[in-house]
Symmetry: C2
Subunit: 499 residues, 2 copies
């Protein structure tokens, strides 16, 4: 039988239509749905996701996978077609590697896990969470064996979020950070911190929203192909071609969550909006990995959003919307938004300490999956690592090992993407600075488009055409290294802290 790539793409696009409906429902459930609608809508999601799963693992999908992987056929495909086939093959095999009833049991376990975790965290009671976490870890270990891996069982989990990246790769980065970042952080702790009390105040919601819209426009986010809404836990979602939506949340006493949150999500959205039209609805029509996606959001949130150049240009807009800043100098503001403080909570961490929170999680996860520690020992292990890397100690498990939702939902191997995002971001940004020599001056003048074009050309438009490793090599000319991140952090914070 002869098969055509056209049929393959039509099939992929049919699946993507179901995913698009699911994405809209997900967006609605987190922004607009009335409380009484939630129960039934979850069942609608269940139905659609079963249908999408069935299509992706159907005999028809099996035929595509078999046919287009025949060496002669595979070799004859062009780069984009081949990549699409490879991604579908990988997805198909991953889905097929685990018996359907196990997937269903695990998914029920995880939704139970999330509600038990919520209770356990509220009561700061790890013992309550322990039994179900043990079950989850057992499943994940089994899944990792079924997926298969070469060196480290943890590789199989990592691969879902950061394809082509191994435990060894992550450890390389972490070794570098431990060697360079921890001592630098300690120097900062000893120095005098800038005054950030100017960031406290009253900020009404509609003005914060206006500011968010202004910064998204400055970032060249396309409002004709998206929108901004409010939510409890901000996210960005690509619902379909021409519809990439951002959400943010507003703290009436603090501008930072909405402002930097919007820039962060805006960074994700620029990525999605920049994927080439030809890839839309295909396997390539998404980000290269969780970590690459995170690199784009962190670039906008931190490297641009917390830079002096950006505020030189954007400060007047802030002052216009929040006149209380008219007597604060842009310099004082810049320093205030860059204060470094060790925090027990990952999501409140600054640029310098954030990665160390990930180091802790990675080391704990990797040891768990490889049977070097038991779930029961996690609280103690966690607290000792927090003390070792951050120099502070949790007073209870709610602000310690129980703080993140991920494990309760069955997500292990995900955390490293957050760290890798920061590392990719610094390496990409260093390259951009080389290739756009006057980049800082452009940003200072309000031209963010030149940089966005660079990102689009080098990263966004390709979608998932390249694995993260290949993309880093292609864009920066060398493999991933923590050095660019360290250079960026050292230069920026040495200056701010005068060290």
């Amino acid at each position: 039988m002869l098969m055509e790539m056209k049929d393959f793409y039509d099939y992929a696009r049919e699946i993507s239509k179901l995913r698009s409906a699911m994405s809209l429902i997900a967006w609605d459930m987190r922004t607009k749905i009335p409380p009484k609608g939630v129960k039934d809508r979850s069942e609608v999601v269940g139905k659609l996701s079963r249908m999408a799963f069935e299509m992706a693992t159907s005999p028809k999908a099996a035929e595509f996978v078999e046919y287009f992987n025949r060496p002669k056929i595979h070799d004859s495909l062009n780069e984009v077609d081949r990549r699409n086939v490879d991604l579908m093959t990988k997805y198909y095999r991953r889905q097929k590697s685990i018996p359907a009833d196990k997937i269903e049991k695990f998914s029920i376990l995880c939704s139970k896990g999330e509600s038990i975790w919520q209770e356990a965290r509220r009561e700061s009671n790890f013992a309550k969470f322990q039994p179900i976490l043990e079950e989850i870890v057992e499943y994940l270990k089994e899944f990792a064996e079924l997926y298969g891996y070469e060196e480290n069982r943890y590789d199989a989990l990592l691969d879902e979020y950061e394809p082509s990246t191994t435990t060894k790769d992550v450890k390389n980065v972490i070794d570098g950070l431990k060697k360079d970042l921890v001592p630098f952080m300690q120097k900062i702790y000893k120095a005098k911190a800038p005054d950030d009390r100017i960031l406290n105040g009253n900020f009404d919601k509609s003005s914060q929203e206006k500011l968010s819209v202004e910064v998204l426009k400055a970032m060249t986010y396309d409002f004709e192909g998206g929108r901004l809404d409010e939510t409890a836990h901000p996210f960005t979602i690509g619902i379909g071609p021409g519809d990439v939506r951002i959400t943010t949340k507003y703290d009436p006493r603090d501008l930072r969550p909405s402002f930097f949150g919007t820039m962060h999500e805006g960074g994700h959205a620029l990525y999605e909006q920049g994927i080439a039209e030809e890839h839309q609805g295909t396997m390539v029509g998404m980000g290269a990995s969780m970590g690459i996606h995170e690199s784009q959001s962190r670039t906008w949130e931190n490297m641009i959003g917390r830079s002096r150049a950006f505020w030189n240009f954007f400060y007047p807009t802030l002052v216009k919307i929040f006149p209380q800043y008219k007597d604060v100098s842009v310099e004082d503001f810049y320093k205030a938004i860059n204060v470094v403080k060790p925090s027990l909570i990952r999501i409140e961490a600054d640029e310098v300490t954030y990665n160390l929170h990930i180091v802790i999680r990675f080391e704990v996860e990797e040891a768990l999956i490889n049977d070097r520690v038991k779930v029961a020992d996690l609280p103690e292990l966690w607290n000792s690592k927090v003390k070792e890397y951050l120099g502070i100690e949790p007073s209870n498990d709610a602000e310690g090992v129980l703080q993140d939702v991920h494990w309760s939902g069955g997500q292990m191997g995900y955390f490293p993407s957050y760290m890798l995002g920061n590392i990719y971001a610094a390496q990409f940004f260093a390259t951009a600075k080389k290739e756009i020599p006057n980049l800082e001056a452009l940003i200072s003048s309000g031209d963010l488009k030149t940089f966005r074009e660079w990102q689009r050309e080098k990263i966004h438009r390709h979608g998932a055409l390249y694995d993260p490793k290949d993309l880093v090599m292609k864009v920066t000319g060398q493999p991933l290294t923590h050095k660019y991140f360290m250079d960026y952090i050292t230069e920026k914070f040495s200056e701010i802290y005068g060290i």
Copy 2:
């Protein structure tokens, strides 16, 4: 083979989950979607609607229909189960009566029809619309033959919107209106109209929205199971159990479109929110017909919303939100919102003249479908009827035969539901007045819940358990008659106009 009602219901609920996803997309496309997302999202709707159609006409559906219609089985079913089987059977047979390729061609024709109609209306150029309308009419005549009917080909079309209602039934009502309403209307035209200039002004959007929320709360609309948004062409949509959403639009110079529009949509929403839980997701879990649905919206918009009793209670809320009314008496306001003026445009018509707009449309449609007039003759026929029934003359086709979207989308047989809605509403309301003797006093005191409970008990909770004819008989004890509508109109407007 033995089949279970449980399997039948599970199957129906699966289809309803696809419909729920489609409804959310429809809501989003009319309220929130960014412009660039529209094209792709239409394809998602296409995909889901093909899937729902396939399920509803599948061999499995055929088995259900065959099995549960076996006389012995059918007779043994309880009332609700039997009705569900009958409705699914009817739907199945209707879908199956037309070859799938004809349905698809017709649906393409209609979407082309809508855009040609838009152009034709903009240019007030009937000749541009004529050829495609001719094609649409040919299809509809063919479909009517395929569906089948007993007396009049138009019955087959009517049946889709107003099941169990025949052309003869509609004509009965119309004959009565022509005899009684037309002369009464002429008496009104000769009398002195109240002053409605107090309704012009500036009404900012957020205050109008506040007023809409207040009136919905007064109507006992459940915001925990719905929400209010802005749109261009207001509608109500039941997305799923616990999620019935309302939309409205705001005219900065006129309160009426948003206020009475909200009450109208609120009436539809109360119906949807009141359908018994046991029917949700089944064939019975929807309104009894378009006309019965419209009766609920018109009751709230007109019989309550434009009543003196309602404004006795609600006027202080209006004055609080729009203080410009503090020196206007509730009596003057009441009269102003009840001014009767002949209008060329149906959607701008008042309570007295509205039905005559429908009479025109019905007579034109029925003659077309039965080959008594040609499409080419419509403009002249239309204009002569407008003159005959309303005493005014369109100066062009845009404000004449081209004003409504329905025909361009293939909807003939739909218009009578608007009129029947008003007739049902009056007959139901007269019954409610008999059964709740102090109804007016209750409304005057702000108790709208007692009436809502009556509606829920008599009408809402049953969903589509009864055909409109049976429902009218059950609720009011007699067949549909235009007399209650005439009594209502005569009493109300004689008093307002002093005639």
